[in-house]
Symmetry: C2
Subunit: 715 residues, 2 copies
């Protein structure tokens, strides 16, 4: 097929105008629709922007990524099972729908093992495509057919391969059961037991009480057949060998009835993600074959002896829980997906919604024309770009690392660094998007409070990102620990622990420490490279300050446990957040650096400055003064503020187009406030008028005029 674009490219190539060569993929009108032709209130903004949104789209994500996304989205749009409704459906219907959609999607094998081997980084984009449609489907699918078999592959042996093969054909469906009612972050304290019985060569699973019930397990409530269960392993000699993982059959594959000895139930309604059946389970002398232990990190022989290559039980547990690290990387992409949707809806709404205008005139301005509204939207738009670049970056390095591990390379150092980086990156992405969505919700005024606007759903869905895959506040401590422990070995040690480059700059900590603010002109201070210097200094300062605090607590004789807990507030927490903020900024910075000069690079560069300056103004001004980075009399707050105020009206003209570059199609946006034509009232009317019952008198109308149900109290 030769499209028109391809044809033009041919001609252009011949005539030697390489600058105007348009990529072949631009002819894909699903991915690159003619937005500029759409009539409506966004047209004027689209015509004012300085760059080609299609080119930016390919800077944000590459062709393969967009193709994969649209493969999934187009399939959904063409299958009636994926129709969209604006109403809250009954809980059971939500689960039913999600389940059917999961099997239908899995059956399509859009992104299987083969695709994974070629482009492991696209796994996040595949999830993102599903999530932007509906996170329920993605969560259920990735637990049942991703995390479950992957954990068995990583931690299991040949004896559990059958289960993996069945899973590949959707003959079973898995879940991952770590959390208990009374133990979440503190996995070590879990109390489900697996006792080896020599005679029957089985493990006997027991749950001492409700508090030790496994809970929150996605797919466990109604639909899974198997679970990976973490339990305290006891050998016949009565010794406990800590948490180990087992594959545990939960329900009959055909009848879906739970096996005797398994009391399994549904956790009930949640704030969101109600298509996912999170469940709990209690075991009562429930026996599973010896082969079902995932034995890579530790095994039991027929005689009942525990064997492991890891002497230290903590290390063993670390290895066995290692399967979790990919989850954190995934959350960055999930958060990014939500952020993109929210900012798309709110930006388009702000450009379409008119309110007020100059006195004594009948003109009304789109609210995006107001400085106050610009400052509510544009820094968040910049933040969404930052999160998007970061999630793509960390997805890529995680994918690369996994590949190299499979090829047998030693990735221990990179593994440590990605552990630390994802432990700050996941919380920062989740929190950033939390704030993006909230502001978008409020910025859309009353209509933003409609359920069909979707901002409430997005908020409720992203909320879980702050908690699962490691509670944000607990997780972030992993980042500061890494920095403090490395710092204890001297600044130079950072040169050795950072193959991925996230903390490499700290090897120059001693010099960075001595830096001072040296920019009096706004446009100089706002340069990305100078903002990066500021972030570097902030990290060094907060690390030094926290390290001093730790030493001081050590000197006062506190235990390790107490030192860690008592150095959090204003110290380790701020340090970890700064590491996260700097990482997002730096990834964005490197991305811009990698581009050849172009209008797209220019606009990204402004967005980057806005992101950086705004993060500093809102979080670190006190730090800059407190650490004497700034000389007295120098009003750096004002310098950065005026930098931000200068960028707002420029980016206002680009905002709609910046959103076009990252937005999914209207079928996915599914909000009358955020459609690509910006015709907010037409879409609102259409949703409201077509909702069943809109104009009907309720069946219970008599309870308004004849109130026989009122029983007067005799209090």
């Amino acid at each position: 097929m030769t499209s028109m674009v391809a044809g033009i490219n041919q001609i252009i190539k011949k005539n030697g105008l390489p600058k105007q060569v348009l990529p072949e993929i631009f002819s894909r009108k699903d991915i690159f629709p003619d937005l500029h032709l759409l009539d409506g209130p966004l047209k004027v903004y689209r015509s004012q922007s300085s760059f080609d949104w299609r080119k930016l789209r390919l800077i944000v994500e590459d062709e393969e990524s967009w193709k994969l996304r649209y493969k999934v989205w187009n399939f959904m749009e063409n299958n009636p099972l994926f129709f969209r409704s604006h109403e809250t459906l009954p809980l059971d219907v939500q689960r039913h729908q999600a389940t059917k959609r999961v099997y239908t999607l899995y059956n399509e094998k859009f992104y299987g093992l083969e695709e994974y081997m070629e482009r492991p980084d696209l796994s996040g984009k595949y999830s993102s495509a599903m999530i932007s449609y509906d996170p329920n489907v993605s969560v259920k699918l990735s637990l049942a057919f991703g995390m479950f078999p992957n954990t068995i592959r990583t931690l299991g042996s040949d004896r559990t391969l059958d289960i993996v093969n069945e899973n590949l054909n959707a003959e079973n469906a898995g879940s991952f059961a770590l959390t208990e009612i009374a133990h979440g972050s503190n996995a070590r304290g879990m109390r489900t037991t697996a006792t080896f019985e020599k005679e029957t060569k089985t493990f006997v699973l027991n749950t001492p009480d409700f508090e030790a019930a496994k809970c929150w397990v996605g797919n466990l409530g109604k639909t899974c057949t198997h679970a990976i269960v973490y339990a305290q392993l006891y050998t016949p000699d009565g010794k406990c060998h800590g948490l180990n993982a087992f594959v545990v059959p939960i329900r009959d594959k055909k009848t879906l009835l739970a096996f005797p000895g398994v009391v399994v139930g549904d956790l009930g309604e949640k704030i969101a993600l109600n298509g996912v059946d999170n469940g709990f389970v209690l075991f009562n002398n429930y026996k599973i074959p010896k082969d079902y232990m995932l034995s890579k990190t530790g095994d039991v022989d027929d005689a009942g002896n525990f064997i492991s290559q890891f002497k230290d039980p903590k290390k063993r547990m670390g290895k066995s829980l290692g399967a979790l690290s990919g989850g954190r990387v995934g959350i960055c992409e999930i958060a990014s997906t939500y952020g993109v949707k929210a900012i798309t809806i709110a930006t388009r709404y702000a450009a379409a919604r008119q309110q007020f205008g100059p006195e004594d005139s009948n003109v009304e301005y789109p609210v995006i024309e107001y400085q106050a509204q610009q400052y509510r939207m544009l820094p968040h738009l910049a933040a969404v770009y930052a999160v998007q670049f970061f999630s793509t970056f960390i997805g890529k390095i995680y994918g690369d690392m996994t590949m190299k591990l499979l090829m047998g390379e030693d990735m221990a150092t990179a593994g440590m660094e990605i552990h630390a980086l994802s432990s700050v990156g996941k919380p920062i992405c989740a929190w950033t998007v939390r704030d993006v969505i909230q502001e978008c919700r409020e910025a859309c005024g009353g209509h933003g409070y409609l359920k069909c606007a979707r901002l409430g759903d997005l908020r409720n869905e992203n909320d879980a990102n702050c908690t699962y895959e490691g509670e944000n506040n607990i997780l972030i401590q992993q980042g500061s620990n890494f920095l403090i422990n490395t710092r204890a070995k001297g600044w130079s040690a950072f040169g050795e622990v950072s193959p991925l480059g996230s903390v490499d700059f700290l090897k120059n900590g001693e010099e960075i420490k001595k830096l001072k603010w040296s920019w009096t002109q706004t446009n100089v201070a706002m340069k990305p490279e100078n903002l990066l210097t500021i972030f570097n200094w902030i990290c060094v300062h907060l690390l030094e300050r926290t390290y001093d605090k730790v030493k001081q607590l050590q000197a006062s004789g506190q235990s390790q446990f107490d030192i860690r807990n008592n150095s959090q507030v204003f110290y380790a927490i701020n340090l970890a957040k700064a590491y996260g903020h700097r990482s997002l900024f730096e990834v964005f910075y490197q991305k811009v650096q990698s581009l050849t000069p172009s209008p797209e690079r220019d606009v990204l560069s402004k967005l980057l400055s806005l992101y950086g300056a705004n993060v500093i103004v809102n979080n670190y001004i006190g730090t800059l003064y407190e650490g004497s980075f700034v000389e007295m009399g120098l009003n750096v707050c004002e310098i950065l503020q005026s930098g931000i105020l200068g960028i707002l009206p420029i980016l206002k003209l680009e905002a709609v187009t910046l959103v076009d570059a990252i937005a999914p199609p209207d079928f996915i946006i599914n909000s009358p406030l955020g459609m690509s034509d910006g015709r907010i009232y037409d879409h609102l009317k259409s949703v409201i008028y077509q909702t069943p019952g809109t104009f009907e008198r309720p069946e219970w109308w008599k309870d308004i005029s004849y109130r026989d149900y009122i029983v007067k109290s005799n209090l």
Copy 2:
């Protein structure tokens, strides 16, 4: 009736031990249950606190207020119509339930006109009692039987009194229709018309198009019989006289069917408050009697001439919309109610939930023992107290003012001040509680994500507080306008515009401006009076800075409209917020000052310091340096931080008891995580096990094992 307490009081009085006299009301075991006798994890914290929670309870709100609250709550608990369920009910059922509850409560006349005349300030507490049970009931009731008749009373004439009298007997039910699809904040731009027709002595209502449909109107969707409608008034000469209010019959009182000419419908699902039927309406040559114009601010005579005592149409509209100011005051109380519930749940959970403990020990600590968790809870607990004191204060002065107005006093100056104060107070309360709820949600980890934990509901409900009764970001401009306009007349002008005392301090602006930070010791800097000085300086500095900006924009020749819009970000907005923060702090401060020395006063004083220091650290450190309030080298950030760190472990011991003093009963809390006995797992188990369907196989189980619904795509 002589209770035991009363008897003891008698004896004590005789024996001259006045310090131990216990108020009679302590014998009310519903209001003052024996919390210290409850077995469970909270017992140890209750035994450690330094003060009597019952005494604090009476400091927070007086006897009458608590009695009214418990009258409502006890009635509900004893009426099966007010049973509680944890599941999301279908939309129609939510509306039905809310409607029946409204009529049942209204029938009880817990707080009618008589009670209002005696204690107008208790109107907020009455609403609060309902809201803490379920905001739907309160919103519907106060629109139907509060705002509707009150607006007619205020703006109407004798000709509309019949409607008010019918309303008193619940023979009609009202709503308040101002907002249109395309116009919210900008009321002046609304397009619904009311044209006077001489021949028929009627007003003919018309809605030009969907964009001009009245919308968001609570009770309009399904249940009201009448609406107050704001429309552009046209006289037969074709002249427009601006927005005026009319009482408009919507539905037949008996059949609940809409009248011909009225197209009325339901706006559909919202983020929350789904028991309230928010609706929209379009009029098509719909005639209403001339008498139905609310004619106090302007009238039309039989000949079709418009008559008004207000020459300036803007002033007339201001008067006619004046009915809205009470709403803002009400929101402060609503936000306070949500905040109390959220912090109660999260504090009790933090004291009951154990996680981690010293290495190599089996002890686990309640998470409130960790500094990080303390800093997530305690400043928010302090903020809830601040909001609660502020909402009580503003409710009181608003009630007083309304009474004086009724007695014919001229309250113009106080009216202006309360307008400004409520315009910053409402947003600050709504936003403060927004942040309280979000942190509480996250602080409860996974279980906080259960719907039955209620934190998601609270967040979704409070969310509306940011938007209705004046969109926060628009509203807050009223506060900064007031300050800037007064400042333009010189600092001394503040002495004349502040009968309520909220900006009186600014008359000393010139001196305050010269103040410098002068405290090197943490415990001195943390004293409430010194924190108040800091807030004073911040307000003065930001006012001066904003005023300068305005003058500068004026000098550059910008229009009034542009000046206002271009002085918002980093200037007017920060100023308005600071005015709000200072007001909350000052009301709290005055409250503490008014108390005689006692353990209750001591703990409140610490809470106050924590609130103030934390607001400053998180919002104004940059301002302090930027405005040179702080000399270089003085590390004020560290001073305040160490003050906060010092207070945390002290207030940790008081937190559970501080919450007891403000918490509603368990029936109202209705969250397994937040019950007064702290037995979180027992309550969780009970909720989960008793939810219908928990252990059942879904009816659609076959769709898991036999997947005949899958249609393979042929893409």
